[in-house]
Structure formats: structure tokens, C-alpha cells
């Protein structure tokens, strides 16, 4: 590490330590925690709702604000998971399995504190790994050509799908539904308008945010109404907040947090495999390490720690490909890219060369956000307990209202709201019949990137044989296939039917 980097880190920190920056970070963390605590609402919706606010801020502040929301949801979503048994967003699905039994034993406060510690430590290390990895990756990425980028995107989508589905055909169908949604609009290469059925609205393609928000969040409204009110659990057990962790607990969570964070960051880097997938892999990995541990599934303290650590490590991980490659690491990162794009800043390898200051500022902002998470995490436990306990019906209704705001707010277009609603219904039926929605959302986001890189790559290599014989491209494509088959095989073996749809 040379002096140059140190000065830049100091500069980044000084940008983030300005009072107005701190104010936006704090606001983001608090808002994120509330959104996270509301069942069904995850970082994507939280950030989408606030996007119109973010585009009015400077690029630095917009990034701070949006990433702070993501950081806040990281802890917020585990509150209802532990106390009520409803994951605030899909990445907290497993938290229910280990956290709820603890709460039932009257140890809800302890579980929350373990979760908070895991969140804070993993976010802190995630930020450090972000700054250590993003610039080398971007420098490497500059040398990647179209076929490699194509292969990376395929790898991301296919791997993420293999992890969440048990039927290869339904997984394939889900990916294709997403890609199909990405087709209408202007052909990026020839400039020709295609598949719009003469509808002017589609000329610039399906708008990303309404579709993503619809697929991932509006779906929740329909899913929760499907089961009716009786299916929505509610908690009557009182929670006694706990303010510190016993020494035995601190010892018990140290290794899980380290394991979880490392896994989380690296899983997060894979485009598409977000927090939910990371928490799943981290949990499985720890199960293989701690074979003697008897509490799995019955309220395991290391379990809660590793789930939260890997899920939150992934938040920093997701930002790495977003910034370094211009490939959104998760649906919520689309919002970050959209916020930057409205200011004429396009994430990708060029950004790292032209605006490195922005990266260091993000680094500083994320550090401040971790501190804010710690402070507000403590303070937010009582109000979040209250939010998690208000009538589940109320939160479902509120979800509908907020999702509509999120879809409308960016372009002030009612057509976007209609599209969001339609996407929500589509996602509901996909979920109902076991077609994984998260891969579809991902494929939709990455579809045009996939196509342009394929076509440009084929021009470059003058045909398929040249394209497929590039070592990195071929390796990635084969790995993707193996990961897909392996993932489905594993899902059959474990038979654990957990719908880890990526980020909601």
C-alpha cells in the first residue's frame, strides 16, 4: 500500500465525515432499518422509493444514502425474522430457522444482539474487502473483452439459478422469462426498434426499476394475501432487550462471523448471487465445519451469527462488480446504478480510472454507515420490535402503497406503476408454481448486457469457434454449467425447500 492510497482513503473518509454526509448516512440507515423490519420490504424497495431523493443529491451523497439504506436493511430484516418468524427480506429466511426458536425460549434479546454484532462486524470487514478488491478487479476488468464479460454474466445468472431451483427446466424457463422481458426496445447495436408492438412506451425498453420492484416486492403483497391473515404469524412473546453479549457468546460467534463474512463478500461478487444466496451458502458451510454443534435448527447462536455475517458481507460484495465491472451484483444495485446514471456517471472499469475519488468516498461512506448501523441498531431495537408487531395486515397494505410510490417516483409515470403491478402478478404465479423469481429478475436486468457482449464478441472473434475457445470464456461457461447441475443435485439431496429468491 503506497502513500497515494492512504491519502485517498483519508480523503474519502473526510468526504464522508462532513456533517451533511453524516446526516444522509444516518437517515439512510434509519430508513433502511424500518424498511427492513417491515416484512416483505427489502433493500430494493427501500432504495427505489428513495431514488427520487437520491438523484437530487451530489453523486457522493446519493451513494452514501442508498448504501446506508442497504446497510440498514441488513439488520432491520432480521428483527421480524427473530421475533415474529417472518423474514423482513429473503436474506433473513434462514434467520427465522435459528432465531425464532431462541425467541421462543425467551432469548429474543440475546438473538438480536448476536445478529447485530454479526451485522456490524461483517459490514466492517466487507467494507475493507471492498476497497481492497474493487480497484484490482477493475484493473483486471479493463482487459476483459466482450466474450469474457458475456461468460461472467452467464456464470452469474446460471449459478444463481442452480442454487435456488430443483427443476432444471423451471430454472431455465425462469431465466428465459427474464430475458424475454429485456428484449423489447431499441437494439443496442443496430439502433433498430424491435418487439415493441408499436407501443411507444417500450421504445427505450422495459424500465428496470418498476419491473424489478414488481417482481420482488409487489409479489409479496399477493403472496401474503394468498395465505390470508391466519397464515401471517404474530408474536405475543415479550422481548427483553439485551445490551451486551456474554463472553461465551462472543467466543461462539467469532469463527462463524469470519467464515460468514468471507463467504458473503465472495458470493456477493458473483453477479446475481446476493445476500440471500450468500447466507444460505455460509450457513451450509458452517454446518460442515461445526459438525459437533447440536443446536442446528433449534436456535443456534453460531447459526444466527453466520447467517447474518454472510448476508451482510454480501452487501459490500455486491457493490464490487457493480462498481468495477458495471454489472449490478444484485437487483438493489440497479437502483444505485440508476442514481449515478442520472448524473451522467456510469459504473464500470472506466469509472475506476476517471473517478477513483468516488470509490474512496464510498469506502468512507460505508465506514460511517457501519458506525451508524451500530448506533442506530442499538437504538432501533425497541421501535423495530414495535413495527414487527403491528398487525401483519397493516404491513401488507403499507407494502402495496410504498411499492406504488417506488415504481412511480423515478419517472412520474403511471404506466410504470401498471408495469410494476403486472410484474408483481407474474412473479406471484411464478412463485406459486415453483419457478424461481430471483433469477428471472436478474436475467431481466442483465439481458441487454448479455446480448450486446455476445454479438460484439462474435464480431470480434469472427464466429463461435473463436468465441468459445477463449480460455477464460470457456472455463467460465463450463463452470456455470457445473454449478447449475451441482446446485440442482444438492437441492434434491437436501430437499430443503427454501425459496431463496435474491433480494427483495
Amino acid at each position: 500500500m503506497d502513500i497515494d492510497i492512504l491519502t485517498r482513503i483519508t480523503e474519502g473518509l473526510s468526504v464522508a465525515a462532513q456533517p451533511d454526509a453524516i446526516l444522509w448516512i444516518a437517515a439512510g440507515v434509519v430508513f433502511g432499518m424500518l424498511v427492513g423490519a417491515a416484512p416483505g420490504l427489502g433493500p430494493t424497495v427501500g432504495m427505489a422509493v428513495m431514488l427520487p431523493v437520491a438523484v437530487r443529491l451530489s453523486p457522493e451523497h446519493a451513494l452514501f444514502f442508498l448504501m446506508a439504506i442497504a446497510a440498514g436493511t441488513g439488520f432491520g430484516n432480521s428483527i421480524p425474522a427473530i421475533l415474529v418468524g417472518i423474514p423482513g427480506s429473503p436474506s433473513a429466511l434462514l434467520t427465522v430457522i435459528e432465531g425464532l426458536p431462541l425467541h421462543r425460549r425467551g432469548e429474543g434479546g440475546r438473538a438480536l444482539m448476536v445478529a447485530l454484532w454479526a451485522v456490524i462486524v461483517s459490514q466492517l470487514f466487507g467494507v475493507l474487502m471492498f476497497i481492497a478488491l474493487v480497484i484490482p478487479l477493475a484493473e483486471f476488468a479493463v482487459r476483459l473483452l466482450f466474450p469474457e464479460v458475456f461468460a461472467i454474466v452467464v456464470f452469474g445468472i446460471v449459478t444463481a439459478t442452480g442454487l435456488v431451483t430443483r427443476s432444471p427446466w423451471k430454472g431455465l424457463a425462469a431465466i428465459m422469462i427474464g430475458l424475454l422481458l429485456a428484449l423489447p426496445g431499441t437494439d443496442a447495436i443496430t439502433g433498430q426498434v424491435r418487439l415493441t408492438f408499436g407501443w411507444g412506451y417500450l421504445q427505450s425498453g422495459m424500465p428496470e426499476i418498476p419491473v424489478v420492484v414488481g417482481l420482488l416486492a409487489f409479489r409479496e403483497v399477493f403472496l401474503s394475501s394468498e395465505g390470508g391473515l391466519s397464515a401471517l404469524p404474530s408474536s405475543k412473546t415479550r422481548v427483553k432487550p439485551q445490551w451486551w453479549l456474554a463472553k461465551t457468546d462472543r467466543r461462539a460467534i467469532a469463527i462463524p462471523i469470519v467464515v460468514g463474512t468471507v463467504i458473503g463478500v465472495f458470493v456477493g461478487i458473483v453477479p446475481g448471487a446476493g445476500s440471500a444466496v450468500a447466507s444460505f451458502i455460509g450457513y451450509q458451510a458452517l454446518k460442515m465445519v461445526l459438525t459437533k454443534h447440536r443446536e442446528w435448527g433449534k436456535g443456534s447462536i453460531p447459526g444466527v451469527a453466520v447467517i447474518e455475517a454472510s448476508g451482510n458481507g454480501a452487501i459490500a460484495g455486491e457493490l464490487i462488480p457493480t462498481m468495477a465491472l458495471g454489472i449490478p451484483g444484485a437487483p438493489s444495485m440497479v437502483v444505485v446504478m440508476a442514481a449515478l446514471a442520472t448524473q451522467g456517471i456510469f459504473a464500470g472499469p472506466q469509472l475506476v480510472q476517471t473517478r477513483p475519488d468516488l470509490l474512496y468516498a464510498v469506502f468512507g461512506g460505508l465506514l460511517v454507515a457501519v458506525v451508524a448501523s451500530a448506533v442506530f441498531g442499538y437504538l432501533s431495537i425497541p421501535p423495530s420490535i414495535y413495527i414487527a408487531n403491528i398487525s401483519p395486515a397493516g404491513t401488507v397494505a403499507a407494502t402495496m402503497i410504498l411499492v406504488v410510490v417506488g415504481a412511480f417516483a423515478l419517472r412520474w409515470s403511471l404506466a410504470d406503476v401498471w408495469l410494476c403491478l403486472a410484474s408483481g402478478l407474474l412473479a406471484y404465479f411464478m412463485t406459486r408454481y415453483d419457478y424461481p423469481v430471483a433469477p428471472a429478475a436478474l436475467a431481466f436486468i442483465l439481458g441487454s448486457m448479455l446480448e450486446t457482449n455476445l454479438r460484439r464478441g462474435l464480431v470480434m472473434t469472427q464466429g463461435w469457434s473463436g468465441f468459445l475457445s477463449r480460455p477464460l470464456t470457456a472455463t467460465l461457461l463450463i463452470l456455470a454449467l457445473l454449478a447449475f447441475i451441482g446446485g440442482i443435485y444438492m437441492n434434491h439431496r437436501t430437499a430443503a425447500k427454501i425459496d431463496i429468491g435474491a433480494e427483495a
Binding site: 428465459m176 433498430q192 394468498e226 402503497i401 406459486r432
Partner: protein, 192 residues
């Protein structure tokens, strides 16, 4: 689909397995797979009839749409045929994946089932919620944000079996007015 019967009979009796096959096809899953098949093939024909200029691009603007819609068609077809194939292989002919997957998202209900007692059926509740959502979005433009939101929220609560005037009225009014004030005055975001 020219298959007639499975040669191998292990486990269940033949009649029983034919019953299971019929169940697999008379279900929402089959209807959905059929819809996807339809979507795929319509997209495929549209993509094939697309006229594209052959610029200096070996693949052209048509390849990708054709590939995507063809893959969707194949995948939907595979899901649709899977019960038949499973029957021919002498296995339990359930739609899609083995028996665990069918324990997924609640019981299958025919959407056309008796309209009365709509809210007693899962799919009926979803239909009601969808109707509320559609009405809400449609009303936004007509009667303005606050009134539409009050109605929309009250409707959603009603679908979720919340009864009682106080909960149905007070909650939505407080929520919509405060949301409106927060967004327009504090965050300078325009609402519909």
C-alpha cells in the same frame, strides 16, 4: 404427444397412476406451463418474422430473441411433458418435480371455482387483492393521491380480513396523509 401407457408397473397400480397423471394435468401448474408455452411460441413467431438489417454483425438483431423464445418454449414443453415421461419411466407422474415440490405454496385451487365465498379460497384472495391493486392504480389519476390511497389501503386490509371501521378508516387516513406530507414536503418527491 403420442404416448399411450407405461410399460413398467412398480409401486402403485396402473389405474392409480393414471389418476395421478390426470391430476397432474388438471391443475393450475399445467395451465401455467401451457401459458408459458403459448408465450414462448408467440414470441418465437414474432421474433422469426422480425425484419432486421444485416449490418456488419454476423448474428443480427434476431438471433437473441429467437434463442430466448425458443428456449422458453422448450423449457415449458419439458415441464408440461414431465408427468408423461415420469409415467413412462414408471415413476410417480407429478407435474414438475417429485412429491416434495408439490407441498409448496398452498393448495391448488381451480380459479373458476364458485365465486361466492371468494375470500375463503387462496386464489380468490389473491384475485381480490389484485382487483384492489388495479383499482387503486386506476383511481390514482382520477381522484388524486390521498383519497385513492385511503381507498386502496382500506381495500387491501379488507381483503386481509381486517374488519371494524376504526382499523379500516383511521389507519389508511393517517398513513396516506403522513406519507403524502413526508414525500412532498420533506423529500420533495412528487406523488401521483
Amino acid at each position: 404427444m403420442g404416448a399411450d401407457k407405461g410399460p413398467n408397473t412398480t409401486g402403485r397400480s396402473k389405474a392409480e397412476r393414471w389418476d395421478r397423471l390426470r391430476d397432474a394435468y388438471v391443475s393450475g401448474k399445467a395451465v401455467w406451463a401451457l401459458l408459458l408455452l403459448l408465450l414462448g411460441s408467440v414470441a418465437l413467431t414474432t421474433a422469426l418474422s422480425m425484419r432486421v438489417g444485416q449490418a456488419h454483425d454476423p448474428l443480427g438483431g434476431r438471433f437473441f430473441p429467437v434463442m430466448v423464445s425458443a428456449s422458453l418454449t422448450v423449457a415449458a414443453l419439458a415441464v408440461l411433458l414431465s408427468p408423461l415421461v415420469r409415467l413412462l419411466l414408471g415413476r410417480d407422474p407429478a407435474m414438475g418435480e417429485g412429491s416434495v415440490a408439490s407441498a409448496g405454496t398452498g393448495p391448488d385451487v381451480d380459479p373458476a371455482d364458485e365465486p361466492e365465498g371468494l375470500l375463503r379460497k387462496p386464489l380468490g384472495r389473491v384475485a381480490a387483492m389484485a382487483a384492489v391493486a388495479i383499482a387503486y392504480v386506476a383511481l390514482l389519476d382520477v381522484i388524486g393521491y390521498i383519497p385513492a390511497t385511503i381507498l386502496g389501503m382500506a381495500g387491501a386490509l379488507w381483503v386481509l380480513q381486517v374488519r371494524g371501521l376504526r382499523a379500516l378508516f383511521l389507519g389508511p387516513v393517517v398513513m396516506s396523509v403522513s406519507l403524502y406530507l413526508i414525500f412532498t414536503n420533506l423529500l420533495f418527491v412528487r406523488l401521483p
